[in-house]
């Protein structure tokens, strides 16, 4: 994935960049599946490699195929990015090690959902149970966000009928 990302940064042909993005999404979905996040992997594969790529290709068709050569070397953004990376690395060292069963993330709310979820909702897939029942408000908000996104695109791209022509 790192190779794909570096290639994306340096490529100037935008069609190649979109194809690399699709490959990257598939690799991300595979990694997510290896991390036991099956719902998320399915969604990332369908959305990232499917819908996002189609929309990017559509927008690419409507705009144009190549990126212009940058006028000056982007040294300040590179330094800024590396500084942010260093800060993140410093903060990350305080996090628990990978797959530590004593980590706080596993200690408080998750055992209750895993233990009581099947009894209270009757649904074996705990992710669906939490999404649709325990955290139903959030999913309502998310559905409204998708609707708003669709409505926004309709508002931006709809053509008003020209009178007389």
């Amino acid at each position: 994935m790192a190779v794909a990302v570096v290639a994306m940064a340096t490529q100037r042909n935008l069609f190649g960049v979109v194809v690399l993005f699709s490959i990257y999404s598939f690799l991300m979905a595979t990694v997510l599946f290896a991390l036991d996040a099956v719902d998320v992997a399915m969604t990332e594969a369908a959305v990232g490699a499917g819908v996002s790529t189609v929309l990017l290709l559509g927008a690419l068709y409507l705009t144009g195929g190549t990126e212009a050569k940058p006028l000056h070397r982007p040294l300040i953004p590179l330094a800024l990015a590396i500084a942010v990376g260093a800060l993140l690395a410093y903060g990350m060292l305080g996090l628990p090690a990978f797959s530590d069963p004593e980590a706080p993330i596993h200690a408080h709310v998750a055992p209750r959902y895993l233990g009581e979820g099947l009894k209270e909702t009757g649904v074996p897939n705990i992710v669906t149970a939490v999404l649709a029942s325990y955290r139903g408000y959030d999913t309502l908000g998310e559905t409204v966000v998708i609707f708003t996104g669709g409505a926004g695109v309709i508002a931006l791209l709809r053509r008003r009928r020209r009178n007389g022509s």
């Binding site: 790192a2 999404s25 997510l32 959305v47 705009t63 895993l114 705990i126 998708i146």
Partner: protein
């Protein structure tokens, strides 16, 4: 050395995040900026899902024969985040298409030049 091996997933996440951020701020083409934003978002998914895994656990679907499950809560958050991300990407792309139709280009420098030529 254990700081490296125990936090391997986080190193990858940081690299992806920094790369996405770099593409977002360093490139002038609007379409490439949006792709950098999408990269930044996917690196955040990894940031959330990686700590949720328990080695030896299984996917969080209750079934006979499994005793440990990976943590389902970050999965829920990221499911929402993925779909919201695609809605954001769609709106951004619609804006880029409209900018192209109005200004004739999607390069940041050219758009700024056209704008200041209009004002001045």
């Amino acid at each position: 050395m254990s700081a490296f091996a125990g936090h391997y997933a986080y190193w990858i996440t940081i690299f992806l995040m920094v790369a996405g951020m770099y593409i977002l701020i360093a490139r002038g083409n609007l379409l490439k900026k949006l792709i950098g934003l999408a990269l930044l978002q996917t690196s955040v998914y990894l940031l959330y899902i990686a700590p949720a895994k328990l080695i030896g656990g299984s996917a969080p679907i209750i079934a006979g024969g499994f005793s440990t499950y990976s943590n389902p809560l970050p999965h829920v958050l990221i499911l929402t985040a993925i779909v919201v991300g695609v809605a954001t990407l769609a709106l951004g792309l619609a804006l880029v298409v409209r900018i192209r139709e109005t200004y004739g280009s999607i390069e940041e420098d050219e758009i700024l030049a056209l704008d200041s030529a209009d004002d001045g």
